[in-house]
């Protein structure tokens, strides 16, 4: 499998304090990487470095580099807007626009230059189908997205993300505010989406990491302690600290 993302000695500072330290790892294309670790270990900071979302926070800086398809995204000439189209993000709390279900997805398409009505409609339909939402909403596309359930809103946000055909999807605890059934749907969806996308997911739920990911990275106090195949991390991790965390001895 091809290497999609390569992180090389990445350190990220809030002020003078490094939130993540000297992280080196690679993510292969069409796989799911789960980031686990206790609160404040730097996993969300790390995630947000991958589409340079941290840029907007004042008094921060990154050292080291991240390459996507071999190109450095921290190169000053790199197009950050283009990066955020290629690297979509789904947040913990679903955040649909206060618009219709249809417009939530069509909006991103329009600002990316899609004008053909037919093309927009078919992309909206395709995105809703690939998030298993189409059958639930096809009769009420013009109703407000805010009327959907929490789980549906989150799937709409994922549909909105994939409509603009990103290559990588970052998910920051996408199911932590959802009930079991909605969570299960999101987890199934993640498995389906990896056929076409590379996914990195932050989760507080270790079992969820085990269920959805191919690779798991364990962060602690800003350090990457261990990264390995999910099967290995959860059956015979190399580091004692990883074992202690996943067996619930701390965290």
């Amino acid at each position: 499998m091809a290497e999609k993302i390569k992180v090389d000695k990445l350190t990220f500072y809030y002020g003078a304090t490094p939130a993540i330290k000297n992280i080196t790892l690679t993510v292969e294309g069409n796989t799911v990487l789960a980031l686990i670790g206790p609160s404040g270990c730097g996993k969300s900071t790390f995630l947000r470095c991958i589409n340079r979302m941290n840029d907007i926070i004042p008094n921060t800086r990154a050292e080291g580099d991240i390459c996507i398809d071999g190109k450095s995204i921290y190169n000053p000439k790199f197009n950050v807007t283009g990066l955020r189209r290629r690297v979509g993000m789904v947040f913990q709390k679903s955040n649909p626009f206060p618009k219709s279900i249809f417009d939530n997805i069509a909006y991103g398409l329009k600002i990316n230059g899609m004008t053909d009505r037919y093309e927009i409609e078919s992309t909206v339909e395709k995105s809703l189908k690939s998030t298993a939402l189409w059958d639930e909403v096809k009769g009420r596309l013009d109703e407000s997205a805010l009327g959907l359930s929490g789980g549906q809103q989150q799937r709409l946000c994922i549909a909105r993300t994939i409509a603009v055909q990103p290559e990588v999807i970052l998910m920051d605890e996408p199911a932590s505010a959802l009930d079991t059934i909605s969570t299960q749907k999101i987890e199934e969806l993640i498995q389906d989406l990896k056929k076409n996308y590379t996914i990195i997911i932050v989760t507080h739920n270790m079992q969820q990491a085990a269920r959805v990911s191919d690779m798991t990275a364990f962060f602690y106090m800003g350090d990457l302690i261990e990264i390995s195949s999910t099967g290995k991390i959860f059956t015979r991790p190399d580091m004692e600290m990883t074992e202690n965390y996943i067996t619930g001895k701390f965290g």
């Binding site: 299960q184 199934e188 498995q191 079992q207 085990a210 269920r211 999910t230 099967g231 959860f234 059956t235």
Partner: protein, 218 residues
Amino acid sequence: MTTHLEQELEAIKSKVFEMTDLAIESIAKSIQAMKNSDARLAEQVLREDSLLDSLEVEIDNECIRVLVTRQPAAVHLRFVLAMLKINTDLERIGDLSTNIADEAIKLHGRPALKPLVDIPRMGEIAIGMLRDVFSAITERDAGLAREIIDRDRDIDTLNMQVYRELFSYMAENPHTISHALGLIMVAKALERIGDHVTNIAERAVYYIEGIDIRHMEE
């Protein structure tokens, strides 16, 4: 809609079925080798046992992976636990077939003590039980699984019959002792195979109904 977990369980089931076919084949071939004094066929049984061994390891690893990464519950959990144990029984059936094949090699070239009737019959019953137990799993038919367990008695009866008959041969003519002991070993191996198929049927009931019926007979 089939979930990813269900797809993975299906893959485990296919592997267990593949292993069952191999186990059936190895019983059939080892009995055939005994009947026809065919040492080459017996050697084939010995060689092919490694296929069962490697499938056993593969299935164990798959089950462990599913347990840890999917955290199956209820019927899915019972399925994985049943497959883990059935896997071991199938591997043991393979080993017992190689014991029969070993005897076939030892007896090769020696004149037959008597025509083999009961031993092939035991083999046929065991193979029939093994075939049906997998229908029981596929169809989730606990009644069929229970019925298979009852058939093990026929194998036990035949085993005792073989033992008594060969014992009388040995008593009459001590020259037959080593040959007769070989046949007793073969019958014993088939009797053990019957026990393993019974175990598989019990695990099938556990998977289907969630009831542990082991040691409930008396």
